[in-house]
């Protein structure tokens, strides 16, 4: 048995390319989630589904309210496109995904927990897309994560 948690598409046009006469759509696939805290759950947050990331990434303002199982004692650095790096630490969190109709069971996942908010909340492969089926059809604006029930 499983449940499907609906995902949202967020689409807008890249203004810089548009100014040069080319239309490029900036499309993001978005999930809604909460993180487990020591005495309940955080508020709702939006996360990008990111198949290009092996690991989920969580901004500081979000994870610092959550219950964390630290996996490594030291910090690491993450490089992006262009100059500059962000730093953080590897930990394990528990989250629930939800849509307008239904909540998922709690899901334990490893994540890179950032020192700041320079990167949005990204759900990557490890423990998320490795365990859940992702269905995505932009033409029909249909997308969901299929979660097996325990």
């Amino acid at each position: 048995m499983s449940i499907d948690i609906g995902l949202e598409f967020e689409t807008h046009i890249d203004l810089d390319f548009l100014g040069q006469g080319v239309t490029i759509r900036l499309i993001r696939l978005i999930a809604s989630l909460r993180l487990q805290t020591n005495d309940g759950w955080t508020r709702r947050y939006k996360a990008f589904i990111d198949t290009g990331n092996p690991l989920s990434i969580i901004p500081n303002s979000i994870w610092n309210k959550a219950k964390i199982n630290w996996l490594l004692p030291h910090k690491s650095e993450l490089s992006g496109i262009g100059p500059g790096k962000v730093s953080g630490r590897l930990g394990e969190i528990v989250l629930v995904l939800f849509d307008e109709r239904v909540d998922s069971p709690p899901i334990k996942a490893k994540a890179f927990l950032l020192d700041d908010d320079k990167v949005p909340l990204l759900l990557g492969f490890e423990d998320i897309l490795t365990e859940l089926k992702l269905a995505c059809d932009y033409r029909t604006k249909t997308a969901y994560l299929q979660i097996p029930l325990p």
């Binding site: 949202e8 598409f9 967020e10 689409t11 807008h12 046009i13 890249d14 203004l15 810089d16 490029i24 900036l26 809604s32 909460r34 309940g40 759950w41 508020r43 709702r44 947050y45 939006k46 990111d50 290009g52 990331n53 092996p54 990434i57 901004p59 500081n60 303002s61 979000i62 490594l72 030291h74 690491s76 650095e77 993450l78 490089s79 992006g80 496109i81 790096k85 528990v94 629930v96 939800f98 307008e100 909540d103 998922s104 069971p105 709690p106 899901i107 334990k108 890179f112 700041d116 908010d117 990167v119 949005p120 990204l122 990557g124 423990d127 365990e131 979660i147 097996p148 029930l149 325990p150």
Partner: protein, 93 residues
């Protein structure tokens, strides 16, 4: 397998009367995202009652402003991403 059993009391806690407003504001944000990005490029924004109620560089900052202005605990927060961004992963330990 990282999927845990759902406790009944946690499930009830996750449903609340603000649910409908949260999704209406989410829908509004998606429909007006181009305008949001134009006005608040690369900032975090909080959406309440179908408008941007707070914008800033950190989530903590906009959560505080949005809660003070509206008294609401729950509201959608988006990153108004301007331009093509690829979040490449390479960890240096």
């Amino acid at each position: 397998m990282p999927i845990l059993s759902l406790k009944k009391e946690e499930s009830e806690e996750l449903s609340s009367p603000e649910h409908k407003e949260y999704w209406e504001d989410s829908k509004w944000a998606r429909e007006h995202f181009a305008e949001i990005v134009k006005e608040y490029p690369d900032q975090w924004v909080a959406i309440v009652n179908k408008k941007v109620i707070a914008a800033g560089e950190t989530i903590a900052e906009i959560e505080k402003i949005a809660m003070e202005k509206t008294g609401r605990e729950e509201f959608p927060i988006y990153f108004a991403e301007r331009g093509v961004r690829v979040y490449r992963y390479r960890i240096g330990i």
